[in-house]
């Protein structure tokens, strides 16, 4: 892999107009990655999902060079109907379109940041890989007091024309004081067996509201890693919803720093898996100052030999008095081959706090099925009804009604 990395790195550097210093930094990141390799089970955070093995088994050798010069044709059929929205379109890792047609142009600034590389605080070897190979990155700045009229949908599309086996993406968002953004990530993969490595960074200023919905619905053979870093100031709110279903392997990581008083973070997730799929959500909520709140609800329905992992951590600093932290993960195992692993973790250094976590896993409740069947439903109908209700609980947590309906339709959940 080392030779391939060097070769592809040199190729991608050639096409960029970077300063010597930036090249040095990228080179440093590349060396870091070569040194560490893909994360494996020896690392605590990857204990349940050995990415190194998964990539070896599913993809084999990776290649990294993407030709960013040639454009891809935008396939409009993937666009969501019936919901007016702004668009960012990624095709095979290349940004093809950024379009805010419903918004006031002077209120949103799109800054090309390709030349500056920002380090992630929470770094693993994948952030090094991302730093080394991302060659186009933007910062989207929502200006003070502006609330986007329509949601923004980011389309992540891959197709058979994909250049290499690995795609690295990066986006930065800054939500200035009193602003708000609704963001949907929609994955639409038509390529075979690639590794997607996505990093988002969000800065939420005072009173800012971010709602991020990640929807990975369509069956595909890709392997995904997505990392969200969210920094929150006073009174800001972040809401993250993850529908984890389509990819062969997917790991969503949320790192949320509640820096300002009265800031709050919500993470809700649904795993709906079948076949040999293996998905993970790992969340780290850092309560760093007083009067902050976090709420997490993760539900999984696992069929066939699928495997879901939830690692959630609530960290409470010694200054963060009056913290309210809640975390619940529940799983239904439908098949004897399916597996659910959880590591709900609390790390607490302040005494005046209320932190709770719960985790439960098991089979569908036979009594409930009996109840429904005795009222005339078939076994299959009863099962569907129970699963529907189980997942509806999480979807109902979505605060935006427009998007809630969209997602309900996508999953096929009825009320």
């Amino acid at each position: 892999m080392k030779e391939q990395l060097h070769k592809d790195f040199d190729n991608s550097i050639k096409n960029l107009s970077l300063s010597q210093k930036d090249i040095e930094i990228k080179k440093f990141c590349l060396d870091n990655f070569i040194d560490k390799g893909f994360p494996n089970r020896k690392e605590e955070d990857w204990k349940f999902s050995d990415l190194n093995q998964i990539i070896k088994k599913n993809i084999g050798e990776l290649s990294f060079y993407n030709d960013q010069a040639s454009t891809n044709k935008v396939d409009t059929s993937v666009f969501v109907d019936g919901l007016e929205h702004n668009k960012i379109v990624f095709i095979n890792g290349r940004i093809e379109k950024i379009e805010f047609e419903y918004e006031k142009k002077d209120q949103i600034e799109i800054i090309d940041q390709s030349e500056t590389i920002n380090e992630f605080k929470n770094s693993n070897s994948l952030s090094d890989l991302n730093n080394a190979f991302t060659n186009k990155s933007f910062k989207i700045l929502v200006k003070k007091g502006y609330q986007l009229v329509k949601p923004l949908i980011i389309y992540h599309t891959t197709n058979s024309k994909i250049w290499s086996k690995n795609i690295n993406l990066r986006l930065n968002f800054e939500l200035d004081k009193d602003s708000s953004l609704r963001l949907i990530d929609l994955f639409n993969d038509k390529s075979e067996k690639n590794f997607l490595n996505i990093f988002y960074n969000f800065e939420l200023k005072e009173n800012a509201v971010l709602k991020n919905y990640k929807v990975d619905k369509f069956d595909n053979k890709n392997i995904k890693y997505s990392f969200n870093n969210i920094d929150q100031e006073k009174n800001s709110i972040s809401e993250t919803f993850i529908l984890s279903s389509g990819s062969n392997f997917s790991k969503n990581e949320i790192n949320c720093n509640l820096n300002g008083v009265y800031s709050s973070a919500f993470v809700n997730g649904v795993f709906s898996l079948n076949n040999d799929k293996h998905h993970e959500i790992r969340s780290i909520i850092n309560h760093l100052t007083e009067n902050t709140k976090s709420y997490q609800l993760i539900k999984s329905v696992l069929d066939e030999s699928s495997k879901a992992v939830y690692q959630g951590k609530i960290f409470v600093n010694s200054d963060a008095q009056k913290t309210d932290g809640y975390q619940l993960s529940k799983a239904i195992l439908l098949n004897k081959e399916s597996e659910f692993n959880a590591k709900p973790e609390l790390e607490i250094y302040a005494d005046d706090v209320k932190c709770t976590h719960g985790s439960a896993s098991g089979s569908l409740n036979e009594d409930s099925i009996f109840y429904l069947m005795s009222r005339g439903l078939s076994y299959q109908q009863s099962r569907e009804l129970l699963i529907n209700g189980f997942l509806l609980d999480v979807v109902e947590k979505i605060t935006d009604s427009e998007i809630k309906n969209l997602i309900k339709n996508m999953i096929g959940i009825k009320e």
Partner: protein
């Protein structure tokens, strides 16, 4: 000053902190094959035992000290320790208590463990371990009548080699982790219990561990075998003198329960926790593992952990037999600069296996407490259930309380439920108690005892009273 206050003041300092001035026989300092041979030789062990030790030592040489635990500690120099220390008078083992060195008797009397016949009214059979040797075992005759073997493990190696050979290392193999392997190589003494088929042990069996000599590691090994349909309740207590240096205690405890057998293992651990500034104290790195080998067997661990500078242990149950049950009840209290990383592992292998975990952690002062647990239901463990509850109480904003559970469910017919909360004593509760005339410390004591009640109830009577007092004392000075 009322009586309770007086009592508290008397107990405020670690009352077991004295040391006994006694002449010792020690192995040369350091860890090598010669020292292991020395230990084996002085205990007059058969060749297979020495082989067991040397095999473990070979393995130990390639292992590294683990570093994933939460409480960090300065590197231990394993060559700077004495691996064997015994009172000189124990060289030729006394035949009866009357021949026992009066200084030793005095020590145990001070610790509240009456060894002499006339003082034994409470009806608990005690095996007293002083540094590296067992000095006395009481009630031997009565137990022998029922066929129960309760003796120091060094005696069992000589008198019951077939049992020891069969079960020693069967739950904690010589190839286990760093500290367990070290123990396998250099263990000195400990208790051996065998309950024959169908026998219900008529009294509580108990071991009292005492570290006395300085710079000595205590490596005891306990092996309890409950044959088919038998029952035993076993208690363990520990203390050590106050010293400025940290002392290592790395014990291995193995339990084997055959068909329909039940073992109840209770620990009240009160090693010297170090002084207020965190100087000195015991490193309590213990490996405890129980194997429910037979059908319908049950192993229950109850622990009250109040001592030690660092406690690092996970009493575990391997539920191999169908319908077997594992239980874990724990109270861990840390104050001042104490640190604890403790919890349990429940490994479900058999069908219809059940486990229950109740863990209560209380941290005060500048201490740090971690619950770390594993619940693993394998794909063959059909219809198994686990229930876990771990609650933490924080007192003050300099301490920490952490929960790190690992939950693995590979069986769709099994259920796991896990709950954890972290909070502080509510103002309302304190106010209510104080309004009724309790001072703040008493109020906290009362609330904490209520918080721990679920676990305290599991302890045998005599221990429960002791433990309840200990809970109050351990939290001294943490209020206000």
């Amino acid at each position: 000053m009322d009586n309770r206050q007086k009592e508290i003041n008397n107990l405020k300092d670690y009352k077991y902190g004295f040391s006994t001035d006694i002449e010792n026989v020690q192995a040369p300092k350091g860890l090598n094959e010669d020292v292991i041979k020395f230990i084996s030789n002085i205990k007059k062990e058969p060749a297979w035992m020495l082989e067991f030790r040397l095999k473990a030592f070979e393995r130990f040489k390639v292992l590294n000290e683990p570093d994933w635990q939460k409480p960090k500690f300065p590197k231990i120099d394993y060559q700077d320790l004495y691996y064997y220390s015994a009172p000189k008078s124990m060289k030729e083992k006394p035949k009866s208590l009357d021949e026992l060195d009066p200084k030793l008797l005095e020590t145990y009397k001070k610790l509240g463990i009456p060894l002499q016949e006339q003082a034994r009214l409470n009806g608990i059979a005690v095996d007293a371990v002083f540094d590296s040797v067992s000095v006395a075992t009481t009630f031997k005759d009565e137990l022998t009548k029922q066929g129960i073997i309760f003796c120091p493990i060094s005696e069992a190696i000589q008198n019951h080699p077939e049992l020891v050979k069969k079960y020693l290392g069967s739950v904690i193999p010589t190839s286990d982790h760093f500290f367990a392997t070290l123990n396998s190589a250099v263990f000195t003494d400990g208790s051996f219990v065998y309950i024959p088929e169908g026998v219900r042990c008529p009294m509580e069996l108990s071991t009292y561990f005492r570290i006395n000599a300085a710079n000595t590691g205590q490596f005891e090994r306990t092996l309890i075998i409950a044959d088919k349909g038998s029952y035993v309740s076993y208690l363990e207590g520990c203390t050590a003198p106050m010293r400025d240096e940290n002392q290592l205690h790395a014990a291995n405890v193995e339990l084997v329960a055959l068909d329909d057998a039940e073992i109840k293992y209770s620990t009240v651990q009160n090693w010297y926790p170090g002084d207020k500034d965190g100087k000195g104290g015991i490193y309590n790195f213990v490996t405890k593992r129980g194997l429910c080998k037979g059908k319908n067997s049950k192993i229950s661990w109850t622990q009250v952990e109040t001592g030690s500078a660092i406690t690092w242990k996970y009493p575990s149950c391997i539920l191999k037999g169908d319908n077997s049950v594992g239980e874990f009840y724990s109270i861990a209290i840390t104050n001042n600069h104490q640190k604890a990383d403790t919890g349990t592992k429940m490994i479900h292998l058999g069908k219809n296996t059940k486990s229950k975990i109740i863990s209560k952690g209380i941290s005060a002062g500048s201490s740090d407490m971690t619950y770390r647990g594993l619940v693993d239901i394998s794909s063959k463990a059909k219809n198994s259930t686990n229930y876990t509850q771990c609650d933490s109480l924080l007192m003050g904003n300099k301490c920490g309380a952490h929960t790190v559970p690992y939950i693995k469910n590979k069986n769709s017919e099994s259920n796991i439920a896990h709950e954890a909360t972290t909070s502080k004593i509510s103002e309302e509760q304190l106010h209510y108690c104080q309004q009724r005339g309790l001072n703040p410390e008493e109020a906290v004591g009362l609330i904490v005892n209520g918080f721990c009640k679920e676990v305290l109830q599991q302890l045998p009577m005599e221990f429960a009273v002791e433990a309840q007092k200990l809970v109050g004392i351990s939290l001294e000075g943490s209020v206000g």
